[in-house]
């Protein structure tokens, strides 16, 4: 294409998108296909276990585990993978337990990670819904689900969760709730996929604990079979050995 024509075309497209909406003009390849409505976990075995090749977009996902079972490692792997695809990710740190060093060790680009530290439980879910609806965010990680559940009024929690679900269905965002205290999880009916992690053994290197081996069980899967599982090994970032 001639340079002049191209630049003029570029300007017209930009002005149209500014005037109306960014989605009014799109390349054909950018229009979502059914098989693209998933977020890969970056672990091929787990993606295969989930049957649709990853975690579904536009749904509530729950990871539950006892502490130190690798749930944060799994969540950060998901986040790092999304960031590699230039997708925006937000982390709602309601439990105020964000460990920047560990996240950086799991290849998370901290400069691209928006961290939200709300003081009120209902605000956390409301911010998650807004980010999903208007922020063009690919993954929202909400930590921790049981703290929100405990501190929020049950009716408000139910209402906020429904609003979040409705927003997610219209968007391509995945809301990932982490429950790191109660392995049974706190969103048994709201989540489309619920993965439970149980620590099997510590992994050692030169006598020190260098990682953890956990059993991942699919407790609930709206898009495939539930009940399957596999063992995964999570190695800590090297400096922590």
């Amino acid at each position: 294409m001639d340079t002049d024509v191209f630049l003029r075309f570029n300007d017209i497209v930009r002005s149209l998108r500014d005037e109306y909406d960014t989605r009014i003009l799109r390349r054909l390849r950018d229009i979502t296909k059914p098989h693209e409505r998933k977020v890969t976990t970056s672990i091929p075995e787990l993606d295969r276990l989930l049957e649709i090749g990853g975690l579904p977009r536009g749904e509530v996902i729950e990871f539950s585990a006892a502490p130190t079972s690798g749930v944060m490692s799994l969540a950060w792997m998901l986040v790092a993978d999304a960031q590699r695809r230039h997708e925006a990710v937000a982390y709602i740190d309601y439990g105020l337990c964000f460990d920047a060093d560990f996240a950086a060790g799991c290849d998370v680009a901290l400069e691209k990670l928006t961290i939200v530290r709300p003081t009120v439980a209902s605000a956390a879910l409301s911010i998650a819904a807004t980010l999903a609806g208007y922020g063009n965010v690919s993954v929202v990680v909400i930590d921790s689900a049981e703290l929100l559940h405990q501190e929020c009024d049950p009716l408000t929690f139910e209402h906020s969760l429904r609003r979040l679900q409705a927003t997610l269905h219209k968007s391509r965002t995945t809301a990932l709730f982490l429950s790191t205290v109660s392995p049974a999880g706190v969103l048994p009916f709201a989540s489309a996929v619920h993965l439970r992690l149980d620590r099997q053994r510590w992994l050692r290197r030169r006598g020190d604990i260098a990682g953890v081996q956990s059993r991942v069980t699919v407790e609930r899967n709206k898009f495939g079979r539930s009940g399957g599982g596999l063992s995964l090994q999570f190695w800590f970032p090297e400096e922590r050995w």
Binding site: T3, R27, D99, D101, A104, T114, Y134, W235
Partner: protein
């Protein structure tokens, strides 16, 4: 036309972009002022104070007492440089990266475009890079590399300086002779003749130059006239890339193998990016404890360059293998390296839109819930022995500033 995209004080401008508080004072990179090390790079403020590359840090502190002293992160600068190179390939595949410390230069060849079109493209490159990377280049446009480089040096940051065929002679004449890399002996002789600028050198008779200074003098004479036949040289493309890893003891755990392959994929991606090429296939060879050799080959349906794509195919190849015992060594060969085909300009660059949209939403949310609610983690003391001291918070207001 050749465009020279110049990022002056490149490492320091990356540091200032990452931590805007550093903009308030001159910046010297190399380490702390009390360390026995030399200046790796510096900001414009420090250069104006007289700080030069290779100077000892103590001397630099004497020259610029108000300067901030930080350790350099060359890998980070290389990564940013690679990203810039990759981004510029959207416009032309003929790009030559050159380092002229403390600046970094990229020569881009728009051979089919005349000056007005090339100027528009150069402006578009400058705008896009500034928007995406937060770094402001100065761009010079001319028919030869030398004139383009001088134009980029003279242009203000964030601006394009185009030189047409007739205007370049007048532009070149005013520059001092030291802009040419002359042999010391030649410089001394020219000084004796009282010749100090390119214009004065270019005004000498060509026959006399050839007689007095030989072929080296004539090459420089042509440059002083704005005649620079040197083409833009893209980095040499290798035919294949090899990588191997020998384990200290046999490995059965596939996660460890995957981790090693992840490192290999990262290195391959760096090499492919540096040579502006793609790979079309790979061969994975695994040797086991019992001297069993397993080989798997993969052909890519599309040319591949990203580390995650290479890792995906490596993992697929490994999954098809069933070594009976521990793995002793891994050898990976990336073959059929091909040049990158030019892509369509980024009309609908999604991640830029995503960032803009997210910023807009965060602005509204920050007004409602308070700016302190939205933060980013930023490294404060990356080398501290205590994990909790390595990172701090950056509030949303500061992010925007």
């Amino acid at each position: 036309m050749i465009a020279c995209v110049r990022f002056p004080f490149f490492p320091a401008s990356i540091e200032e972009r990452d931590d805007p508080t550093l903009k308030r004072q001159p910046l010297v990179l190399g380490g702390q002022a009390w360390q026995r090390a030399s200046v790796y790079s510096m900001s414009q403020g420090a250069a104006l104070d007289g700080v030069r590359l290779g100077l000892s840090l103590r001397r630099a502190q004497l020259l610029s007492p108000d300067a901030a002293f930080n350790p350099p992160f060359p890998k980070h600068y290389n990564d940013v440089s690679g990203q810039l190179l990759e981004r510029m390939q959207d416009w032309t595949e003929r790009i030559e990266p050159t380092s002229a410390q403390p600046a970094i230069l990229y020569y881009a060849d728009f051979e089919r475009d005349k000056l007005p079109q090339a100027t528009l493209l150069a402006r578009e490159i400058g705008r896009t890079i500034q928007h995406e990377s937060g770094l402001s280049p100065s761009i010079g446009l001319a028919e030869g590399k030398f004139s383009a480089m001088l134009a980029a040096k003279s242009a203000r940051v964030g601006h394009v300086l185009p030189l047409d065929h007739h205007g370049r002679l007048g532009f070149l004449q005013q520059h001092p002779l030291r802009t040419l890399t002359l042999p010391q002996k030649l410089t001394a002789r020219l000084n004796l003749f009282g010749i100090g600028t390119l214009g004065e050198y270019a005004a000498l008779p060509a026959a006399d130059i050839a007689q007095q200074f030989g072929s080296a003098g004539m090459t420089l004479y042509r440059l002083a006239h704005g005649d620079d036949p040197r083409p833009v040289v893209t980095p040499k493309r290798p035919e294949h890339l090899d990588w191997s890893h020998q384990f200290v003891e046999p490995v059965v755990n596939r996660q460890i193998l995957r981790r090693v392959m992840q490192q290999a994929a990262g290195k391959f991606a760096e090499q492919l990016r540096a040579s502006l090429s793609n790979a079309r296939g790979l061969q994975l060879t695994v040797e086991t404890e019992s001297h069993q050799t397993l080989v798997q080959q993969e052909s890519f349906s599309e040319p591949v360059r990203a580390a995650r794509h290479i890792l995906f195919f490596l993992t697929a190849a490994l999954d098809r293998m069933t070594p009976v015992d521990g793995v002793d060594s891994l050898t990976i060969k990336l073959n059929t390296i091909a040049p990158i085909q030019p892509r369509q300009l980024s009309l609908f660059d999604d991640h830029i839109l995503t960032a803009e949209k997210l910023d807009g939403t965060l602005e509204q949310l920050a007004e409602r819930y308070g700016r302190k609610t939205f933060v980013k983690a930023k490294p404060i003391r990356p080398n501290s022995r205590l994990f909790e001291r390595r990172y701090g918070w950056e509030e949303y207001g500061e992010l925007l500033a």
